[in-house]
């Protein structure tokens, strides 16, 4: 029986949704699992809706494109929920039974009674915390919010090992092999400018992840 986990990450351009998916998928690959990762976005610009999808399994994954029936939905910005900045309406469309939602939100995410009733029927679990605040407090930059989101995910559902996560981070930011688009490269430079050394960037981001894992709160639906 397939143990596939399908993750949908919805956020805004510039928040690192694509980077987070890349790091998670690469970590799964390093753990010897099968994974595919792909992003979806329109014209590349800050604050425009951006999504990325990670599928993790122990056997071959054929399906391509958007994750239409996720087990996990990660919301990187409250506007995804309140302003419909995602590729499905409502944002949790297709969520599977016992599914998980993790939102970067200081407050309990704004959900109507209908939505809450639907999520209750799915026996969904809703988690929230300010990933941005954790990133600022621990990592010293809100650019680490995506790492906080990954930390929260691993806190709730340990999909990959922390060793592989660190290696994947190292590969993404440490080596010269990664080619990013112009806007992503600009953000990479800004992020690297926050730290003296790449090793410091990796350590601090690992700390952000750890802190996020314990900062996440459950809202009982």
């Amino acid at each position: 029986m397939s143990k596939k986990t399908s993750i949908r990450m919805s956020g805004l351009g510039g928040q690192g949704v694509v980077t987070a998916a890349h790091i998670l998928g690469n970590a799964a690959f390093k753990d010897g699992l099968v994974s595919t990762v792909n992003p979806f976005f329109g014209a590349e610009k800050r604050l425009a809706p951006a999504e990325s999808y990670v599928r993790i399994d122990t056997q071959s994954i054929y399906e391509r494109g958007e994750v239409l029936f996720p087990n996990v939905i990660m919301i990187f910005h409250p506007h995804v929920i309140t302003m419909g900045k995602c590729y499905t309406m409502p944002f949790f469309d297709g969520l599977q039974e016992n599914g998980i939602i993790i939102a970067n939100s200081e407050e309990v995410p704004q959900l109507g009674d209908d939505d809450l009733a639907k999520l209750a029927r799915l026996n969904a679990k809703l988690y929230y915390f300010s990933a941005t605040q954790v990133a600022l407090d621990v990592g010293g930059t809100e650019l680490a919010s995506n790492m906080a989101m990954l930390g929260a995910l691993l806190g709730v559902k340990p999909l990959v090992s922390s060793k592989s996560m660190k290696e994947a981070l190292m590969e993404r930011f440490g080596g010269g092999r990664f080619v990013a688009s112009g806007t992503t490269a600009a953000l990479d430079d800004e992020l690297k400018g926050k730290y003296e050394k790449i090793s410091e960037l990796i350590e601090q981001n690992m700390e952000v992840m750890e802190a996020a894992g314990s900062a996440v709160k459950e809202f009982v639906i």
């Binding site: 990762v37 054929y62 494109g65």
Partner: protein, 381 residues
């Protein structure tokens, strides 16, 4: 230039030990071109292709390619590529969607000039309304350009097809351009496992002396026709020459079949061919079908799969034979017009068993469940 060992195509494709990498389709293009011994690459950006030629530019900087520049638009790029190929060098470029249509006049020109150009097409929707998302509509227009057309299902296919395309295109009895098509985002931006041959190996260089037509020379037929074209004479011989020339290009594509068989393992791949219901697809519609077939299996439904790797030449005889045994043939496509359905209908004896659905377009993902719905419908008929 970087030092690389020249090996035979067979060594590179079938014998060299490969390394598993977790990369995108665009990165698979970079890895293929590293080993393709390309002399010249010309680029022009268009999403979702931009990264591919950007990465080819990077390996030019590393010394894998002799010449690389950016053209002023897609038409200029495809024209420059033609010039380079006429002069006898191995060239590579890529485009997609509106870029394909902007350059369109050059594709039959490449075939007509017998240029063994390899071009990757990263398909996307065509305006208007503007979209950058995946859609295979542009392939409908490409079917009658005289180019060979291979369709990649994933990054692995893309890597292998691009490399093998050079070898097929340059065979003296073929010597026409090859388009390698990959669905934008679903392949180009998707990170997956791809097995890569060592980058310190490369294909033998192109030998223009083996071309069936001489390198461009204004004084030698047939390229004297550039200066002295058939149309200027307007006599019987000129029209007859034009007609037979076009037939010869179609014949060249036919002669490519044996090379596609030996290098790509056939124009099609078939699974469970004796099933009552058959899915025929190309590109990532094949992947969605694989997922659907697994779901159908859990419901006790047995479904066969035909993956079409080569659209030109088209596997007409194989499709006719396979469809004859099936009760129903389902054709899922990532475009509105259903060009693959039309192709299949021209091949089969009984067109009433062909189901041209589902069709998903405009950049949306095809839920495997839509294919399962068609399977159930066919099973209940």
């Amino acid at each position: 230039m970087i030092e690389q060992k020249v090996v035979t195509p067979e060594q590179l494709f079938f014998e060299a030990e490969r390394e598993e990498q977790f990369i995108t389709g665009s990165e698979a293009i970079r890895e293929a071109i590293k080993s393709a011994n390309v002399d010249m690459a010309i680029s022009y950006p268009i999403t979702p292709q931009s990264e591919s030629m950007h990465l080819v530019g990077d390996i030019f900087a590393e010394g894998y390619i002799k010449e690389y520049f950016r053209g002023e638009n897609e038409f200029a790029v495809m024209s420059s590529v033609a010039g380079a190929a006429m002069a006898g060098v191995r060239v590579f470029t890529a485009t997609g969607g509106p870029g394909t249509l902007r350059a369109f006049e050059m594709f039959p020109t490449w075939s007509g000039s017998r240029l063994p150009i390899v071009c990757a097409f990263m398909t996307r929707g065509i305006n208007s309304p503007l979209t950058i998302q995946p859609d295979t509509l542009e392939m409908a227009y490409m079917l009658d350009t005289g180019m060979l057309m291979l369709h990649a299902e994933n990054g692995q296919d893309l890597y292998d097809m691009v490399l093998k395309a050079f070898v097929i295109a340059e065979k003296p009895d073929v010597h026409v351009p090859v388009g390698v098509f990959a669905d934008g985002f679903f392949v180009t931006h998707t990170r997956d496992k791809v097995n890569i041959a060592p980058a310190d190996m490369k294909l033998p260089s192109y030998n223009p002396n083996c071309a069936p037509v001489p390198a461009m020379d204004m004084e030698t037929v047939p390229f004297r026709q550039m200066r002295d074209p058939f149309v200027m004479k307007s006599n019987f011989i000129s029209y007859a020459a034009h007609a037979s020339w076009q037939q010869e290009i179609l014949a060249a594509a036919e002669r490519a079949r044996k090379y596609i068989d030996s290098l790509l393992g056939g124009l099609i791949e078939v699974e469970n061919e004796d099933a009552d219901i058959l899915i025929i697809a190309s590109g990532t519609a094949v992947s969605q079908s694989r997922e659907a077939i697994q779901q159908a299996k859990s419901e006790g439904l047995s479904v066969g799969l035909v993956k079409i790797k080569s659209l030109r030449p088209f596997p007409t005889e194989q499709i006719r034979r396979l469809a004859a045994k099936a009760k129903a043939v389902i054709i899922p496509e990532f475009n509105r017009v259903g060009w693959l359905c039309r192709e299949v209908k021209t091949a089969v004896d009984d067109t009433t068993k062909v189901v041209g659905a589902p069709r998903v377009f405009g950049g949306m993902t095809m839920p495997p469940q839509l294919i399962v719905d068609e399977i159930r419908r066919c099973a209940n008929e």
